[in-house]
């Protein structure tokens, strides 16, 4: 396993404990609960979409630092993107965590979410990092 500070870094800790994205959105267009029955992590994503653009996103729920921070940073990354752009970024993030995506150009599009790169070396925490990303993937695919 990597050094702990590679995963529990400043950015992830800040987002996990005190996220400005943890709030409710009034009149959200989409709302979906994602949960991880093994560890009890639960997050609810709320989403506003205008045309083909994600205009607002927020989350509520509880879980470990990795799942909470991953959700919050995902919101920062995807807010303002088009649905197609978002889908591409989601694919890249999941690929990165599963160690399938190494294309540097693509990884750069993850912005802050690249901070979770080292979770790929922690099999026990992969699910935590992916929870929000799978949840939004479902929302966008079902849309």
């Amino acid at each position: 396993m990597e050094d702990l500070s590679d995963v529990y870094n400043e950015l992830i800790m800040e987002h996990s404990m005190n996220s400005y994205n943890k709030k409710r959105i009034e009149n959200a267009d989409f709302c979906k609960l994602g949960h991880n029955p093994n560890c009890g992590d639960e997050i609810t994503l709320e989403l506003k979409i205008d045309g083909d653009k994600i205009t607002d996103m927020a989350f509520s729920g509880h879980g470990c630092a990795i799942s909470q921070a991953s959700t919050s940073i995902m919101i920062d990354t995807l807010k303002g993107k088009t649905i197609e752009e978002a889908k591409e970024i989601i694919k890249t993030f999941i690929g990165m965590i599963k160690r399938e995506e190494t294309n540097q150009e693509k990884l750069e599009k993850l912005e802050d979410a690249i901070a979770f790169k080292n979770v790929a070396n922690m099999p026990a925490r992969v699910k935590c990092a992916l929870l929000a990303w799978h949840t939004i993937e479902d929302i966008l695919n079902d849309k």
């Binding site: 396993m1 702990l4 995963v7 529990y8 800790m13 800040e14 996990s16 404990m17 005190n18 093994n38 560890c39 009890g40 509880h62 879980g63 470990c64 630092a65 990795i66 922690m122 026990a124 925490r125 935590c128």
Partner: protein, 407 residues
């Protein structure tokens, strides 16, 4: 025998530089158990109860000797009352289906405690639905114990089955099962005891308890994975129909009908996990050799030390009864404001194995108003040094998180 000598019997503790504090999930195995399995395959392997040749007869003898050993170990009247299963979960399912389904009528009640593991809870949900009976819960008080008032208000004349864990796998509470059994019998109910978390730590006497059923898993008491035990009173087991059908559980099979074998074979369909049965026998020998007195002396020392040391950490919430005599070798705790999975990950980097999560007890977690806990559970090879390592690692985790914790 002292702890250092006991520790030497467990190769994994030498081979891996770990502090193993997840004994509530499964214990490590002593070399004596590991060797018994090797010896079985080198000298005895064949299918018991089948062959007319001497090798198979010897296998059968080994297999049945272990049954006798278990009967003696828990003081059953006779070895026919011992049935082998896959684990405690399978034993409980057997009871739920073969006893529960056939005996529960509309409006009857099944009573369990809020401390139950899902294995003594989910099967009952299904059986009460199918029989239109009801599932009621005994809740604990603020000392994490079941009070006499609670027991007497929940077990009523309508109660037909009481399922109770001897020791909670989350709280470590030792339930007063003898009292529960006595009261339930007065009300005409039968009692199933889940001894999975107690039998590794304390002697069990099924005749003294007068329980109707008792179940446990071998792997939590030094034996291999994949072997469980069901004890049932003979007169009750005799009236029950088999749970699984197939080979070795029959007397005569006709095209449309079957006459089942007598106890205990009628509950042991198909080729059993014989190597694990042999391993369980070796585990019982190992426990008997140390003796429960010694086991309890070692554990009390460690657990009381752990409680004292963890109590000093003011950033921890502890979930355990203040009554020392009612507490076993499991300690659940949380660093206030930090999720147990993060704590477990940080402890893992120090080689410390603890469990984090809901411990297959979601209704209990909900009742406690939490999602999950960290759980350290101890056994005979744990030392005070292990506790010190745990405390140091917790301090490290707290230091990492404290400036971010939202008060």
């Amino acid at each position: 025998m002292d702890i250092e000598n006991i520790k030497k019997d467990f190769p994994i503790l030498e081979n891996r530089k770990i502090t193993y504090l997840d004994n509530g999930a499964t214990t490590q195995k002593p070399i004596q158990v590991i060797k018994s399995i090797e010896e079985f395959y080198k000298k005895y392997n064949s299918n018991p109860h089948r062959g007319a040749y001497s090798l198979s007869i010897e296998t059968t003898e080994e297999y049945e000797n272990t049954r006798n050993k278990i009967a003696k170990f828990i003081n059953a009247k006779q070895s026919q009352e011992i049935v082998f299963s896959k684990n405690a979960t399978e034993s409980l399912n057997l009871i739920a289906y073969s006893y529960g389904m056939e005996n529960l009528k509309k409006d009857d009640e099944v009573v369990i405690s809020i401390m139950e593991h899902h294995s003594n809870l989910v099967p009952w949900q299904k059986v009460v639905k199918l029989t239109s009976s009801k599932l009621n819960y005994m809740y604990m008080n603020d000392q994490f114990e079941l009070s006499d008032e609670e027991i007497e208000s929940k077990i009523t004349d309508k109660t037909k089955i009481v399922g109770i864990t001897h020791v909670s796998n989350v709280l470590g509470t030792i339930n007063n099962i003898k009292r529960i059994i006595k009261y339930a019998h007065k009300k005409g109910a039968i009692v199933i005891v889940d001894a999975s978390q107690s039998i590794p730590h304390m002697p069990i006497d099924v005749q003294d308890l007068d329980c109707d059923f008792l179940v446990f898993s071998g792997h939590k008491m030094l034996a291999p994975l994949g072997i469980g035990v069901l004890y049932g009173k003979k007169e009750i087991l005799n009236k029950m129909t088999p749970f699984l059908m197939g080979g070795d559980m029959i007397e005569y099979v006709y095209e449309q009908e079957t006459r089942f074998a007598p106890l205990p074979n009628k509950f042991e369909a198909g080729t059993q996990n014989v190597e694990a049965v042999i391993g369980l026998g070796a585990a019982i020998d190992y426990i008997n050799n140390i003796g429960y007195d010694k086991i309890q002396e070692i554990e009390n020392n460690i657990v009381q030390y752990a409680i004292a040391e963890l109590s000093k950490l003011n950033y921890l919430d502890l979930y355990l009864t203040p009554n020392k005599e009612n507490h076993s070798a499991v300690i659940s705790f949380n660093i206030k404001g930090v999720h147990p999975h993060d704590v477990a990950t940080i402890l893992d980097t120090e080689g410390i194995c603890i469990r984090s999560g809901n411990h297959c007890a979601q209704p209990l977690m909900r009742y406690l108003g939490i999602d999950s806990t960290c759980r350290a559970s101890f056994y005979i090879y744990n030392t005070k040094n292990d506790v010190d390592k745990l405390v140091n690692a917790l301090n490290k985790a707290y230091t990492m998180f404290k400036k971010y914790i939202v008060k």
